[in-house]
């Protein structure tokens, strides 16, 4: 009688192992930042170094902070999607030009288009560290008073924009 239960027991064990694996997922890497205020920073604009951006100067309306660099091939993938959302849906897009030099960053924007309203220039990655950026591209949804609502690692797809980014931005509109 007991023997017939062995397969079930083995399966229960396997099920437990599988269950333990769920949720340990790279794409939802929890960020300690979510729900807390974005870090303070002060940096020049990539296109116009005389303009200095800070957390306070960018506040007032929710925006999507997009970490990009000219050396990052995946950024090229999400770029047209972001561009479309800026043109068609009035997305407020702020760039964080990360670990890049101004010259190649600007050349990149010239080649692929420039949908950013402001671009924070972060050549040595200092601001990136404060935001916990691990690799480009990464994006943050930040509301009007500077609270991080969402962090996205990797390329933003249309699906991500629709299901995560846009609802959060619309919900955050004051």
């Amino acid at each position: 009688m007991l023997r017939a239960l062995i397969p079930l027991a083995v399966f229960a064990l396997i099920g437990l192992v599988l269950w333990s694996g769920i949720g340990k997922d790279p794409s939802i890497l929890p960020s300690t930042l979510i729900g807390s205020p974005a870090p303070e920073f002060s940096a020049p604009d990539l296109r116009d170094p005389s303009r200095i951006h800070s957390k306070a100067s960018l506040g007032g309306a929710p925006y999507l902070l997009n970490v990009f660099a000219s050396w990052c091939p995946s950024c090229r993938v999400e770029h047209p999607i972001l561009d479309r959302y800026v043109r068609e849906r009035g997305l407020r897009l702020v760039g964080l030009n990360w670990k890049d030099d101004a010259e190649s960053g600007l050349a990149w924007l010239k080649q692929f288009g420039d949908p950013y309203s402001e671009i924070i220039y972060d050549p040595n990655g200092r601001i990136g560290i404060d935001f916990g950026v691990t690799a480009a591209p990464e994006s943050f949804v930040i509301d009007a008073d500077g609270t991080v609502l969402y962090k996205h690692i990797g390329v933003l797809t249309v699906e991500d924009m629709e299901t995560k980014v846009m609802p959060l931005l619309q919900g955050a509109t004051p």
Partner: protein, 151 residues
């Protein structure tokens, strides 16, 4: 002994023998072939083994990838954004190998502190970072923060 009992006994014996030897073999084979995963911070903290294979994961540091002229020796630096470790690899790098992208290299740590890779993997789907790499980077960040708090 009646035939049914005898049959049973043989069956059970065979089964036990098979399972026993297979388990023994599996355990030894496993212990020889399990490759642990370390980040550059782990390696520089002396956690990684010497003279034994392990996997090193992180992001290829921007601007670090070079090839020696006339050979297939590739040199690049793997970083978890806090510590960096030089890597060398003789051969052809995978298509998805790019600076600023995740990479997992298998190999051994040389006495000169250079990681000599025998295999370099870059993930197929470049939208995602391998779980190990993401975790290593998160850990590196914690360590760095702990240190800065201490100072």
């Amino acid at each position: 002994m009646n035939p049914i009992r005898k049959r049973r006994l043989i069956l059970v014996g065979l089964l036990l023998l098979g399972i026993g030897s297979a388990t023994a073999l599996a355990l030894t084979a496993l212990s020889d072939n399990v490759n642990h995963f370390y980040s550059p911070s782990d390696v520089l903290a002396g956690k990684a083994p010497q003279a034994r294979n392990f996997r090193l994961g992180g992001v290829v540091l921007e601007g670090s990838s070079k090839r020696d002229g006339g050979t297939l020796l590739a040199k690049f630096t793997v970083t978890d954004r806090f510590k960096e470790l030089p890597v060398q690899y003789e051969g052809i790098l995978p298509d998805l190998f790019k600076e600023g992208q995740s990479v997992i290299a298998t190999g051994q740590l040389g006495s000169d502190g250079v990681f000599v890779a025998t295999e370099v993997l870059a993930k197929h789907d470049e939208n995602y970072m391998p779980a190990e790499v993401a975790e290593a980077i998160a850990k590196g960040k914690e360590q760095a923060q702990a240190q800065s708090n201490y100072q």
